[in-house]
Symmetry: C2
Subunit: 213 residues, 2 copies
């Protein structure tokens, strides 16, 4: 049982096992989808028996949740880093480029993340967690856009930096959906940059337009 009673000991072996299981699970989930993966498969991929699994997790859902939390945290840090990277120069287009690279880096992650979305869509508690994670991301973007106010003005329709940040997330989600189908990461990045440019500029200082397909 993966109970959290009184923390008897930390045990180096345990954390290794847990990490291995999570890593293997990521690969298996990405390849086959959460709904089509058995506990057995995860264990086999990780090189453990089911005993190890039940010693670390109570269910496949629990593992999935832990996996999501871990990876989502990493991404959030990377995005925050990419946004904080330029101190006082406040170059929005450059920030857009960097964030785009981070967000559309790993197709496997997008697959797992979408599985998790589907999962969350039917479990309010999970949905809450996912919404909170998204809100952290959005906060970072909104703050960054607010810092840039004056240098680049945002379209009024969106309602300031807060609304614009929502739009950035929506664009990300929209491009992700498409990317899951055509698997063309480079194109998706270009397209996301283009979309964000269209959303975040007032239509005055446009860079060159591309084909957009």
């Amino acid at each position: 049982m993966a109970v959290e009673g009184t923390t008897g000991r930390v045990t180096k072996r345990r954390v290794r096992t847990r990490a291995n299981l999570l890593e293997a699970a990521f690969a298996v989930f990405a390849a086959k989808g959460f709904g089509r993966v058995s506990i057995e498969e995860v264990c086999e991929a990780a090189g453990y028996s089911r005993g190890a699994f039940y010693s670390n997790f109570g269910s496949l859902d629990e593992l999935f949740f832990a996996l999501y939390a871990e990876r989502a945290g990493l991404i959030a840090d990377q995005v925050a880093g990419a946004l904080a990277l330029d101190g006082p120069d406040l170059d929005v287009p450059a920030a857009v480029d960097r964030v785009t690279e981070v967000l559309l880096l790993d197709l496997d992650w997008l697959l797992v993340k979408t599985d998790f979305l589907v999962h969350a869509a039917r479990d309010p508690a999970v949905a809450q967690t996912l919404l909170e994670h998204r809100e952290r991301l959005r906060r970072a973007v909104a703050d960054r856009l607010a810092r840039a106010a004056g240098h680049t003005e945002l379209p009024v329709v969106l309602g300031g930096a807060e609304g614009a940040a929502h739009a950035v997330i929506a664009a990300y989600d929209g491009v992700t959906t498409r990317l899951l189908l055509d698997k063309d990461v480079e194109h998706a990045r270009a397209w996301l940059k283009q979309l964000l440019t269209a959303l975040l500029t007032d239509g005055s200082d446009n860079p060159a337009a591309r084909s957009g397909g």
Copy 2:
């Protein structure tokens, strides 16, 4: 066996059964998610035995595919209708409103559609079908936008009516993702309209901006 050999007879009963199975499956899929539904459950919900199922479908995947094709076709028709509705007056904002109502009508459909996306993301053949359906939708939007050229000018960044139509789809997908988590259809509609307005206008003739959360 659900074989399509030589069409022996049509049999009224058969089509009813098939339709009932599809309808029940829709409800069950929406409620529990494709990955967590058994053939048995679908049959029970429809009031049939598993014999009826295997007589009409070869697998749950096959049924799921048929279900998606059917419903997606309906939606596509509705969207095309909403776009064609105004003949020569070419009022883009009004068209945006109508299409938004249609696209964000039924939360259950969005749930099933997202399940299907996840499914397609791991099966190139299915992905192809989904991409084709999306392309039909996009075509309708692009044509409509092209018709409106001159009345409302599009931002150059997006690359004409074609690019703008891509953006419309992306916005729809982005808003859908959020909607799956917060389940607030009314808010999603307002937000999608706002997004589309921001995308499709050049920032000149903005209507009033809203809070955007």
